[in-house]
Symmetry: C2
Subunit: 266 residues, 2 copies
C-alpha cells in the first residue's frame, strides 16, 4: 500500500497498521501534502497525528503565528489597581470591591464620588498610579511572550489608569474601558467598551483568523479562558481553582510561559 493511500485509509477512520514516530509521520505527510494538501490532525485516542482533509489550522507544529495570547491585567501582570491606589493615596475606603458592591456601575460611581471628594482629578490619579509597579517578573515574561507570539491585554480597567503601568511593561497593546474626563481633568464618568468585553473580544479575534489562548485570575476571565484553544488560571483564588478543576492553574510566570508555549506548539 502506497503511503498516501495508507494515510487516506487512516483519515477515513481505519486504525493505522503501526504507530509512526512523529517525525516519520511529518515527513510522509509533507511529501504527500505537496500534491494533495492534506494536513495533520492530532487524534488523542490514538495519541498520534493523523491526516485531516480540512484546511490546516492549528496542528502544524511550527506554525506559531495564528495565535493571540489574551491576558488579564490586574492580578496577572500588575497588582489590583484600586487596592494599590487606595494604599498609595491613603484613601482606604477605595479598597471596596465588587465583593462588597456587586453592581459594578454603582461601585464605579461611588468610587468616582470619593475621588471628587478628595479633589483628585486624572492628573493626580495618574501620578499616584505611576508609583505602582508591575508584579515582579511581569515585564520579562511579557517581553519573552511577545517575541514568541502576539499578545493583547484585555482588562476591565480604564485606559487612563492603565497608561502608567503600560509604560513600565514596555507598551504592550491593551483593550480596556475608558474614563470620561472633562477639560479640567475631572473624571465625570466612565464608558464600558463593549458588553462582556473579554469574551466579545476573543470572539472578534477568532473571527479574523486567530486562535486565542487566554490566562486570568478571576471570575470575569473564565469566559475568555474557556472560549479559546487553551486557557489557564494564573495566581487565582483557591475557590476558583476548586470550582474549575478542569482549567490548569499556575502560580509562576515560568509555568505559565511553558504552558502557553506548549499550547501554541502542540
Amino acid at each position: 500500500m502506497h503511503s498516501c493511500e495508507k494515510f487516506l485509509a487512516v483519515g477515513s477512520g481505519m486504525e493505522p497498521a503501526k504507530i509512526h514516530r512523529q517525525e516519520d509521520v511529518f515527513r510522509r505527510v509533507k511529501n504527500f501534502r505537496l500534491r494533495k494538501r492534506v494536513y495533520l490532525q492530532y487524534n488523542s485516542e490514538w495519541n498520534d497525528y493523523l491526516p485531516s482533509f480540512t484546511y490546516m489550522r492549528d496542528n502544524w507544529r511550527h506554525d506559531m503565528s495564528m495565535y493571540i495570547v489574551c491576558l488579564d491585567l490586574e492580578g496577572v501582570l500588575v497588582p489590583e489597581i484600586w487596592i494599590a491606589f487606595a494604599k498609595e493615596s491613603g484613601i482606604p475606603e477605595l479598597t471596596r470591591t465588587t465583593r462588597d458592591e456587586p453592581d459594578y456601575d454603582k461601585l464605579m460611581n461611588w468610587r468616582l464620588g470619593i475621588l471628587r471628594e478628595h479633589g483628585l482629578g486624572l492628573k493626580e490619579i495618574q501620578e499616584t498610579i505611576s508609583k505602582i509597579d508591575p508584579l515582579p517578573g511581569a515585564k520579562e515574561f511579557l517581553d519573552k511572550l511577545r517575541r514568541m507570539t502576539q499578545v493583547i491585554i484585555i482588562s476591565d480597567t480604564f485606559t487612563q489608569f492603565a497608561g502608567p503601568l503600560m509604560e513600565k511593561l514596555g507598551l504592550p497593546t491593551i483593550f480596556c474601558n475608558s474614563l470620561e474626563v472633562a477639560p479640567d481633568g475631572e473624571i465625570t464618568g466612565f464608558k464600558m467598551r463593549v458588553k462582556e468585553s473579554k469574551l466579545t473580544t476573543v470572539k472578534a479575534l477568532q473571527s479574523i483568523g486567530y486562535e486565542t489562548i487566554a490566562a486570568g485570575d478571576s471570575h470575569n476571565d473564565l469566559a475568555m479562558i474557556q472560549a479559546g484553544k487553551a486557557g489557564f488560571l494564573f495566581k487565582s483564588t483557591e475557590q476558583i481553582k476548586k470550582d474549575y478543576p478542569q482549567i490548569p492553574a499556575y502560580e509562576t510566570y515560568e509555568e505559565l510561559f511553558d504552558a502557553l508555549k506548549e499550547a501554541i506548539e502542540r
Copy 2:
C-alpha cells in the same frame, strides 16, 4: 432661558443665539450632562460644538481611549520586505511584485520556489531580514503614538518575516499572515489569515467598541483607510494620491502623527 433649555433648543435645530467660546460650551454642557447625559456633537456648518442626544462616542475631546490606529507595515514603517530581501540576499528576481504577477497566490508560490532553489529556509531568511532596518524615524513615531493610543499594525506580510523587524520597532502588535514551515525549516506554503484582511480586521475592531483610524501607502490599504473615523495616505504613490484626492496624504512622521492626534482629539 436656562442654559440647559438653550442647549435643548440648539440640539433640536435652532441656530444658537450667540456662538459661545468652546470652553464655555464645555462647562455648560458638562453641568447639564450630569443630569441628562447629553453629549456634544461638532457641527462644522456652525463651527461649534452642539449637544447630541445619542450616546457619546467620538466627540468628547479628552476621550482618547476608544481608538485604535491601524498602520500598514511595508512602505510605512519598514521598507518593502521582498525588495529589501532581494537586495540583501543578492537574488534580484525576488523584486517581482504584484505589478508583474497580479495573482498573489501564483506570485507567492513562485517566490517560495526561488527560495527553495537557493536553499533558503526560514532561518536563513530571518537572518537576512534581521539586516533590514525600519525606515528612519519609524520607531520614534511608533513609540510616541503607542503612548497616546492603541496601535495595531495590519499587514499582508508573514509573521515570520516581520519578526526581526518587530524586534527593532519595540515589539508592537502586528496582525498578518503566516508561513507554513516544516520541522527542518523549509517553507512549504503560506496561509492567509482572513480574506480582505485589512478591512475585515478594522471591522472586527469596530465591532468591539473601537473607532479605527488607519494609514497606509498602497491599494490594499484603501479599504481600511476609508472604513474608519479617519484615514490617511502615507508615503504613497503619485497615482494613488491623484486618484484619491479626498484622503489626506503625508510624507513625514511628524505630519502623520499630528494628523492622527488631531483625528483622535476632535
